[in-house]
């Protein structure tokens, strides 16, 4: 029993070591030539643009639900006029970035894990290397870079569609005007409320890109291995993202004390 536990712990440490080295290499290679601009743009389109409909729809729904909850709470204190500010604050500081990260890790993490895993088991990655193309730069670095670029942009989209969803829910109940709602929402936010949480999604992008690429790039075992890489990409990048979020929020509170409620 003890031997098995020690062996499992050793495997886990080895796995994390491998992931850390892989991520470190990906970050270093981000700043080295060749930059593979065409492939990065293609991946930004795949990861960012193709995720936009999912983000907009989810944002509308999350905003509407948050608005309904906020109204039922604030009504008790006679503070209904605070609904836009409270909703904007909740969305921009935490809900928007975290939900965007989780949605992208589901859609994109699984995609990267399956795509690179499929390329590995069908020798397409070896074929790239044999054609004198650095497969790590061409496949991994471009996807990590695309995730880093796409996550903050998608977060802004999530925040805006969340506010729109909140407005629509509020308009149905109280008939609030569009201008009043959005002016109240943005007046309650300081620069330091939305910049640091949006920038933290750069780290989310790095986590999603590197974890899913690591699992796919090192996949073994045929179709079963590809399926495993895809599933683990979603599960592990979501867990890492949630845990890392706690640390990042603490860092933001430390660096920008004004952002704490």
């Amino acid at each position: 029993m003890l031997v098995r536990t020690v062996a499992a712990a050793e495997d886990a440490i080895e796995w994390f070591g491998g992931l850390s080295l892989f991520t470190g290499r990906a970050v270093r290679e981000l700043f080295r030539r060749p930059f593979e601009f065409t492939e990065v743009l293609k991946q930004v389109f795949e990861i960012g643009w193709r995720s936009a409909p999912l983000i907009i729809l989810s944002g509308l729904a999350v905003g509407a639900v948050l608005s309904m909850h906020t109204r039922s709470t604030l009504e008790r204190f006679g503070a209904v006029s605070m609904i836009p500010t409270a909703l904007a604050f909740a969305l921009v500081t935490e809900t928007g970035p975290l939900i965007t990260g989780l949605l992208v890790s589901g859609r994109v993490g699984a995609g990267i894990g399956a795509e690179l895993g499929g390329m590995r088991v069908t020798e397409q990655i070896d074929a790239l290397d044999s054609l004198a193309v650095d497969s790590f730069k061409y496949l991994v670095v471009t996807r990590v870079m695309a995730c880093i670029i796409a996550l903050p942009l998608l977060t802004v989209l999530m925040n805006l569609s969340g506010l729109l969803g909140g407005y629509l829910a509020e308009a149905v109940v109280s008939g609030a005007s569009f201008t009043f709602y959005f002016r109240s929402a943005f007046n309650g936010l300081a620069f330091s409320n939305y910049i640091p949480p949006t920038i933290k999604t750069v780290v989310f992008g790095l986590i999603i890109g590197s974890t899913s690429a690591y699992l796919g790039y090192n996949a073994t075992g045929g179709a079963e291995g590809v399926g495993r890489a895809s599933t683990q990409s979603v599960v592990l990048s979501s867990i890492f993202l949630i845990v890392c979020n706690v640390i990042l929020v603490k860092c933001i509170f430390f660096l920008f004390p004004g952002t704490a409620l």
């Binding site: 074929a127 044999s130 054609l131 004198a132 650095d134």
Partner: protein, 257 residues
């Protein structure tokens, strides 16, 4: 023995040299102290049963894997000692046809063939397309430029993979199981293509196969690998008279691969 082989041997030029090479994956030993050399401009066939270590030998030649011990020398360079850029330069002179063809399934057949040209030359798009089209015509796939790899049969994929491997005008061509899973007619066509490449492009070929008929057609020299060990090495006739029973049984069999 062909004239090219004689010329390569006389000039003393070795395209590839394995010196006491061993390779293991965990506890599974794939190659044990293997040594052989391949003369320039010749076709060298690696024979053996499945899992004998033949495909690993090809990957060691291309630097896709590194030997645990021993030296793999390709065109006079120790392939494991090459730095990243030097390895890439070396690979530009090596074509590799993978067992599964390994075509990139997100781009068309023609773009697969054009891929190395787009990466490594500054030729205009029209010229690259025309060159890729020419290569596809050479392998009998002139009408398949815009087809996706998933739409091709196994034999067509192999031929497309061969066209891509030839795009870099390699001096060394590595071919993994060219006839696996193919009917005898397609298999013979691919063998003829390989003979044509050696004769007209003066390339060195290393071919991995189970197919003894195919091996007899294309080989100048052969090596027989079993359980990671090189059991026999020489010309077709020399292997036919090998003292190893397994080698003799393999050489005298009529299996189709």
């Amino acid at each position: 023995m062909t004239e090219e082989l004689e010329a390569g041997r006389k000039s003393g030029k070795c395209a590839i040299e394995f010196a006491s090479v061993s390779k293991a994956f965990g506890s599974r030993v794939v190659l044990k102290d293997v040594s052989f050399s391949v003369a320039e401009g010749t076709t060298y066939v690696l024979l053996g049963r499945s899992g004998a270590g033949k495909s690993v030998t090809l990957k060691l030649i291309d630097g896709l894997l590194k030997a645990d011990s021993g030296t793999v020398t390709v065109n006079g360079e120790d392939i494991a000692a090459l730095e990243h850029r030097a390895l890439a330069q070396s690979r530009k002179r090596i074509g590799y046809l993978f067992q599964s063809a390994a075509l990139f399934d997100s781009i068309s057949v023609g773009e697969n063939v054009a891929f190395p040209l787009r990466r490594h030359t500054k030729k205009p798009d029209a010229e690259i397309r025309s060159q890729a089209q020419g290569l596809l015509e050479q392998v009998g796939l002139g009408k398949e430029y815009d087809s996706m790899p998933g739409d091709l049969s196994g034999g067509m994929r192999k031929r497309a993979g061969l066209a891509r491997a030839l795009a870099v005008e390699p001096s060394l061509l590595l071919v993994d199981e060219p006839s696996a899973g193919l009917d005898p007619v397609t298999s013979t066509e691919i063998d003829e293509l390989l003979i044509d490449i050696k004769t007209n492009r003066h390339a060195t070929l290393v071919v991995v196969t189970h197919n003894i008929q195919s091996a007899r057609r294309i080989a100048d020299r052969m090596a027989f690998i079993d359980e990671g060990r090189l059991l026999a090495e020489g010309t077709v006739k020399e292997l036919e008279h090998s003292e190893h029973e397994l080698v003799q049984a393999f050489m005298n069999s009529h299996m189709g691969g």
